[in-house]
Amino acid sequence: MAEIHLIGRAASPGLAIGPVTMLTAAVARRTASDDPAQEAAALRAAIEGARAEIAEQIKTIQGDVADILEFQVAMLEDDALAVEAYEVISVGITADHAWRLALDVEIEGYRAAEDEYFRARAADIVDIRDRVLAHLSGVDTVARITGGSIVAADDITPSAFLAADWSHGGAVALAGGSPSSHVAMLARARGAPMVVGLGPLSWNGQPPALALVDGDAGTVIFDPEPETRRQFEQRMAAANAAQAAVEAGHVAPAYTADGRQIAVLLNVTAPEDLAGLDPAICDGIGLVRTEFLFEASRGLPDEETQYAIYRRILEWAEGRPVTIRTLDAGGDKPIAGLTVDGESNPFLGLRGIRLSLVRPEIFRVQLRALARAAVHGVLKVMLPMIAIPSELDRAGAMLDEEVAALRAKGIACARPSLGIMIEVPAAALCAEDFGAAFYSIGSNDLTQYTMAAARDIGAVADLNDAGHPAVLALIARTVEAARKRGVEVSLCGDAAADIRLTTALLATGLTSLSVAPVTVARLKAAIAKVGS
């Protein structure tokens, strides 16, 4: 028997090999009644049964999968779905036939849609139809799929997909289907390769026994020749090895070629950035921006809201240090009702710590929330836009007052260490004069203030070079001040993620860099080459 090559569309990436399971619609028989009232009642009960079954499934899952099932629940709860079915039941059609007629019209409506997203919903309505039919006949018509097998079918419903165990391999090969379908979303979430749109799956005689699915290229090979299979298995082994290498490099601490350990920290813009991330990929969090809390649509956040979010981030870090920056509004980050409109030069105006110090009623709420969160991990608090020591001293006094007030009320809290962001050249030049617990170099603003060139003005963007010797000299000076004072220093601007600058940055004596989570693996690879 010759191998069969089919070309479709990639819907979920990855390679898989396995025995073929053909999904065919199960036929269920039921004995109908002659009484339209009884048939209507049977349909009502079946719809409610299907709805309750899905609602039960939702309790055990979260995220995209739950959204898909919630859509099915919403459809089943809507009387409009079954109106036509009840009408034909009343003239003597059986419940299962009536339901099938009504839902097939609905399904056809979706299949005829111009928009792929709506066409893809046909599979959900098929799922709804079959679930209710299963309840009408009282048998389980959802096909069971053996784990690790390649499911070949015209299309597959979310229920059938979810009923299978995808943790030990397996893949989906569909004659129809769509990359926009809910099943494709599920397949991507579960890591199951999937190819859709293969065209009619027809065999001469015996159905195929084995299949190779390439979810990257969108191809499927049924009953491969031994040589084809051997080559495919080699590709799978290579892909697995590459994946393992990336993941291992991700988790291991970073060392330069000459053996210096470099701390790699994360920059976090919102707590969602951490979803699904293993804290072991980093040595801590070097920068949590808190501006997201102050987005206009939400209004100014209260102490409880802030405390809950800071606490969540500290708990995620599992004891690794977390540096949270107090509100850095102003400049290019206006916040309605807080920042000053119409400043002639906002970057040189009331921003960062300057704004916090003139709006203490807002700043103190943040300090209280931070002090309360500090008992849940290793918290460091960083003040942005510090230019002179008295700014740090005033903020430190406020923090002391808030900690004392919380303690007086018997509220659990701790005083986090208070450090400064080095982004104003004056602070870099005189870093030693600050009683800061740590320094964190903000290379974006430090570069623009040193070079007097904004990043977002194209005509001068060339001048905005974090690798310029003047900027590197200010970084080196800050590192030296930290060494003399015996405090930590790290760099959290975009320069840390620019691997062309890694060698130059580490040459200043820096041993700690903070970058966005997606950059961690690339930065660790770049660090490993430094000094070789």
Partner: protein, 104 residues
């Protein structure tokens, strides 16, 4: 009886209208439809929408009917709302559309 009273109450209020453009990437598909109907069901007012200013009107509380409209991204949704809490209802559904159903 309840329905009769409800529709009588609704009729006592002049319908409010307003429109908003669908900004979320995939139009009024499954998740946004569920969100819209859940939002609409929170109000006593009769809430309908259409793709044209003069209808045909669709009940915004029915996910089945909302999905049948298959409104694509960029379409303008015209809302028609009548009821004692019509003003709040209209503001709520418009905010939801403007906000891209939280997934823009």
């Amino acid at each position: 009886m309840h329905n009769v009273n409800a529709s009588r109450a609704a009729n006592a209020f002049a319908p409010l209208t307003a429109s908003a453009v669908l900004v979320n990437a995939v139009g009024l598909h499954a998740r946004p439809s569920v969100k819209l109907t859940q939002c609409a069901k929170g109000f006593a007012a009769k809430i309908e929408f259409a793709l044209a200013p003069d209808g045909p009107w669709t009940d915004a509380k029915s996910p089945v009917k909302v999905m049948r409209v298959k409104a694509p991204q960029g379409a303008t949704l015209h809302f028609r709302v009548a009821g004692p809490d019509g003003k709040a209802a209209l503001a709520a559904v418009l905010a939801l559309v403007h906000d891209g159903f939280g997934e823009a």
